[in-house]
């Protein structure tokens, strides 16, 4: 694929007439930040969006209230930032002191969060194979920017200049490993895990020294030997390529120093008979001590999976009604709500069409929903503490898999999908949902069907609106109480990345990562672009 690396800024015609924004990025740049104190307070920092899901707990809630249901129709684009690249574009932008950082599979861009002006660009040249070119963003801490690469490296960049500080090889991409997740940084550590289950990899989560890149600890998400959970692989040899990807990002409870990790599907994806047993810790929430990497507890959403039903999006930690919860979305089409104290499953909320979930695969083909591209994909739930509401996007698209005898291994043959990841229902039938769920009871407050699969992030605010986007390329502002669309803007590029909001100079901005082009799977188009909105274009 031809890729264009020239980054440039294109202001919209509406903006051009207004002249430069009054609050430039250079005014108050603090190269040593964000500090740990600032990161700890990220949920309430209105001017910043400091990590993939805004805050360590993964709540994504902004206390900004300038944009409301009453004035949302006055939202207008302020500027656009074209990376000049075409392909996967799914980053969660981070914003600190008026500067925004986004990623593409190879490049990292810093830009003004109010004018889209380029500050610096860093482009990484892979040194090994790239199983799946995708990247979901960065972590920032104490003047550095951390990101993974398509060939399994973890990079630290200087936040002021974009220059490389260190480059650590985390995993061998020739064996199917790559780093698509946005890391999170805390207390001198950077947390990152590999993806690659669909390429036969066996996942690990790591903590690295943020200053030096030295590896501090490793947690095997596919346990072997005497590790807890190893006995859930009835044939231990099958764990060697057992899967377990970490696709998106991570959640952390700083008070308890616990890291919450979503782990994806087992491998091979559809040959459950090849790997008998529950296959821990695939399709699971895993909670670790963030200092030591030791397992605290876990909850498996789908055992012995044969539908490619990953737990892929980062969980959301919150309190409601005096109880501590963690919400775990899944490609299986459910949002799982666990009690963090008892670890009991409190509610299992259906957030898309679920059909034939336990039907066996057949030679004629078994249609099931969500399909292999359905359910809750890489962006998870958001939590509005005032309303006690969880918001979550989902994909409503079914697949049909055909069973066949597919593989000889060590004296046995195994059955699985004869048609790869299945035949998807016609693209016209691919829809999406936005759900608002009572975070305490699990009841659905409202749900709205959308014309396309919904894979973008969802961001609620104290202003009573939620921001998101669809694969038609429409940036959307919905009424948080009803789900009614208040504002729609066609960006021209499928939205599959983050949607963040922040305040600079007394104005609330919303930035959306648009242009997740996938001609094969989602059949979406558009160039990788960030579009920034404000009321009346920021005037």
């Amino acid at each position: 694929m031809t890729r264009f690396r020239l980054a440039h800024v294109t202001s919209l015609l509406a903006l051009s007439a207004l002249g430069p924004a009054s609050h430039g990025w250079t005014a108050q740049v603090q190269t040593v930040g964000p500090t740990q104190q600032e990161l700890n307070a990220s949920a309430s920092r209105e001017g910043d969006w400091l990590m993939y899901n805004k805050d360590y707990l993964g709540q994504r809630f902004s206390t900004l209230r300038q944009i409301t249901p009453q004035n949302a129709a006055r939202l207008t684009p302020v500027c656009q930032y074209h990376t000049g690249e075409v392909g996967s574009f799914q980053p969660g932008p981070v914003v600190y002191q008026g500067r925004m950082i986004i990623t593409t599979p190879h490049s990292t861009y810093a830009l003004s969060a109010t004018t889209c002006k380029t500050l610096w660009t860093h482009t990484y040249t892979p040194t090994n194979l790239e199983p799946f070119p995708a990247n979901r963003g960065v972590a920032i801490m104490q003047g550095r920017v951390y990101r993974g690469t398509t060939d399994g490296h973890l990079l630290a960049l200087d936040a002021q200049s974009g220059k490389l500080v260190w480059d650590v090889k985390v995993a061998d991409s020739s064996q199917g490993y790559f780093l698509s997740a946005a890391p999170i940084a805390w207390n001198g550590k950077v947390f990152i895990g590999e993806a690659g289950a669909d390429w036969g990899a066996k996942g690990h989560l790591y903590a690295f020294d943020a200053r030096t890149g030295r590896k501090i600890w490793t947690f095997d998400v596919i346990p072997t030997g005497t590790q807890e959970g190893a006995d859930t692989w009835d044939k231990p040899t099958t764990a060697a390529h057992g899967g377990g990807s970490m696709w998106t990002s991570f959640t952390l409870d700083p008070m308890k120093k616990q890291l919450y990790v979503s782990v994806g599907n087992p491998a091979p994806d559809f040959a459950a008979s090849y790997r008998p047993g529950r296959n821990l810790f695939t399709n699971s929430l895993v909670v670790l001590n963030a200092d030591s990497g030791k397992l605290a507890w876990y909850a498996q959403q789908v055992q012995s999976d044969y539908h490619d039903w990953d737990t892929s999006a980062a969980p959301t930690v919150y309190d409601a009604g005096g109880r501590g919860y963690v919400a775990v979305p899944s490609k299986s089409g459910y949002l799982y709500l666990y009690d963090r104290a008892s670890r009991a499953l409190m509610h299992k909320v259906k957030v898309t069409t679920v059909e034939n979930e336990s039907a066996p695969l057949t030679t004629e083909g078994t249609r099931f929903c969500p399909g292999t591209l359905g359910g809750v994909e890489w962006n998870g739930a958001a939590f509005d503490p005032a309303g006690g509401t969880l918001f979550v996007n989902s994909v409503d698209w079914c697949s049909t898999l055909q069973l066949g005898q597919v593989r000889y291994v060590a004296g046995s043959i195994y059955t699985g999908s004869l048609n790869g990841f299945g035949a998807y229902d016609p693209i016209e039938k691919a829809k999406g949902w936005v759900h608002a769920v009572n975070a305490r009871t699990g009841s659905v407050k409202w749900k709205v069907q959308m014309p396309t699969p919904m894979v973008a992030a969802v961001t609620p605010t104290a202003g009573g609106v939620i921001f998101t986007g669809d694969l038609n390329g429409d940036f959307l502002t919905l009424d948080a109480r009803t789900g009614k669309t208040l504002y729609r803007f066609p960006t021209g590029a499928a939205i599959g990345g983050g949607v963040v909001t922040y305040e600079v100079g007394g104005k609330q901005y919303v930035a959306v990562a648009a242009g997740n082009a996938s001609r094969t799977l989602w059949r979406t188009t558009g160039a990788a672009t960030v579009v920034i909105f404000a009321l009346d274009g920021g005037r």
Binding site: D172, S174, T362, Q405, S412, I413
Partner: protein
């Protein structure tokens, strides 16, 4: 591409020499066993129960006892190695057991009547992968097969069935991921009315021109 005529001398061939001697001794004693053994009602019941139990166990379908040839490591692709991973004999009992297994795995209702119980057929299932990720039609290049019995009499396969190809990943010698198309070629021999000896050699040529000659003793396989 000009076919390379390579004789694959499998590990199992050496082991078979001893049983060949035993089989010849049986023939000398006047054994009149045919190429296939008829399935009685007990066999069919047994095949059905075994297949169901295997499906319930979710541990794959064992074929080790029915292998004429297999590579030691079917996860790894080696330069110059034939793309055939295993060759399995499918006796009437084994095919009935497979039918039960495969139907049970799909959650389908079935009875003894639904099982494949053709006691006058032998099948040979070849498990193979393509040379590279683009070669989806590799199975079309497999030749037909023949059985040569003691005394030189030859029988050709009555039919050749090729499964759809599915993409899967392997490792090369350095552990790097390599994608290959995977599938099966099934040779079916109709042995109705034939009075064949129990020892024979299966011969076929794979997609890359490797010719396999695999001797076997039918008596060894239920």
């Amino acid at each position: 591409m000009r076919a390379q005529h390579v004789v694959i001398e499998p590990r199992t061939a050496r082991a078979l020499r001893g049983s060949t001697v035993r089989a010849l001794a049986l023939i000398a004693l006047g054994s009149s066993a045919g190429a296939t053994s008829p399935l009685d009602a007990h066999d069919v019941r047994d095949a059905l129960a075994s297949g169901r139990a295997l499906a319930a166990a979710l541990r794959g379908y064992p074929v080790r006892e029915y292998l004429l040839y297999s590579v030691p490591d079917a996860f790894t692709v080696k330069r110059g190695e034939a793309a055939v991973e295993a060759v399995q004999i499918g006796t009437p009992f084994e095919r009935a057991r497979w039918s039960a297994y495969f139907l049970a795995l799909q959650g389908k209702a079935f009875s003894e009547r639904d099982l494949s119980t053709r006691d006058d057929q032998l099948e040979f299932i070849v498990y193979a992968h393509s040379r590279g990720p683009e070669d989806q039609t590799f199975m079309s290049r497999f030749t037909t097969a023949s059985l040569t019995f003691e005394g030189g009499r030859e029988v050709h396969a009555a039919s050749v069935a090729r499964s759809p190809a599915s993409l899967d990943h392997y490792r090369d010698a350095q552990g790097r991921v390599e994608f290959r198309w995977v599938g099966t070629v099934t040779y079916r021999f109709d042995l109705r009315g034939r009075h064949a000896a129990d020892v024979a050699t299966l011969r076929f040529t794979d997609a890359d021109g490797h010719t396999f000659r695999l001797p076997f003793d039918r008596q060894r396989y239920r």
